[in-house]
Amino acid sequence: MFDLFARVFGREDASKDVAKERLRLVLVHDRASLSPQALENLKNDLLKVISEYMDIDDEGFRVDFSRHDESMALVANIPIRSVKRTSV
């Protein structure tokens, strides 16, 4: 009864809304999860493309998912050794 009282006066969210919100976030992550193999392939492809423009350190190259509040992001950390000079 107190729960209901507290809710009527807006002090607490209905717990099902909390459940839905949490599920929404966790499912985005679950659904987006690539297999380790696929992530490795993605990493190699990225490496190939970026190497055409600059000299990067493939040892320190990291690609991973990251979640910020409500959104998902693919975060790549790419240490650069040197930028290739354009000949123009």
């Binding site: 729960d3 209901l4 809710r7 209905a14 717990s15 099902k16 809304d17 459940a19 839905k20 949490r22 599920l23 929404r24 966790v26 499912l27 679950d30 659904r31």
Partner: protein, 265 residues
Amino acid sequence: MGEAIVITSGKGGVGKTTTTANLGAGLAKAGMKIALIDADIGLRNLDVVMGLENRIVYDLVDVVEGFAKLKHALIKDKRFENLYLLPAAQTRDKTAVSPEQMRELVGQMKEEFDYVLIDSPAGIEQGFKNAVAGADKAIVVATPEVSSVRDADRIIGLLEAQEKHKPFLIINRIRASMVKKGDMMDIDDMIEILAIELLGVVPDDEFIVVSTNRGEPAVLNPQSKAGEAYRNITRRLQGENVPMMKLDDDSGFFNRLRKLMGFKS
């Protein structure tokens, strides 16, 4: 040629076996020729839920290994002569059969039965793969809880990756009084999250415990609310358009009073 349907969920304990038993008994009562397969090798339970545990001679692994003929391993139900159970092996594990063997077995059974219902084990590993292998359709059972919905979503993803027919959802153990208070996800919440077609909603019903104690599926009891929901689902499976059951909230004071005084709510 019949149809094979796998009943699955990802998470354990959400009611796969109860659902399989009730849909089987319900379809058999409607006159269909039904076979139930317990694909939970090593942890068999469909036999006890059906009340057939004393009749097992051979099991699924015996049939797959050619040690017993299918017709000798199938147990005829006590209530319906058009209902059969192929029990799981209890002393083996899931590696005793392969998806190819299951596909062949289910294919063979479909020639003889209108519906072959396959009770899947929990999890996403080989037992699940075996259970799904021979199925034409899948039913995903989920309760309105975070862990169950999350696992159901995972299973739906795996089923879709196999290019099966898009799975159907049964929402199990919903409690109208909690939904009303906002403390349980309702039907719309579940469909919104899982985005698959709803086949039925089964209310939380104490009678399920009684029916499991006795080994008599609730679908055969005209008073049971869950039984009524299962009867509706069996009709939908046969192509009938049955509206979703209204979920009564019987927690209110007047409802309880009415119940006490013996009026049917």
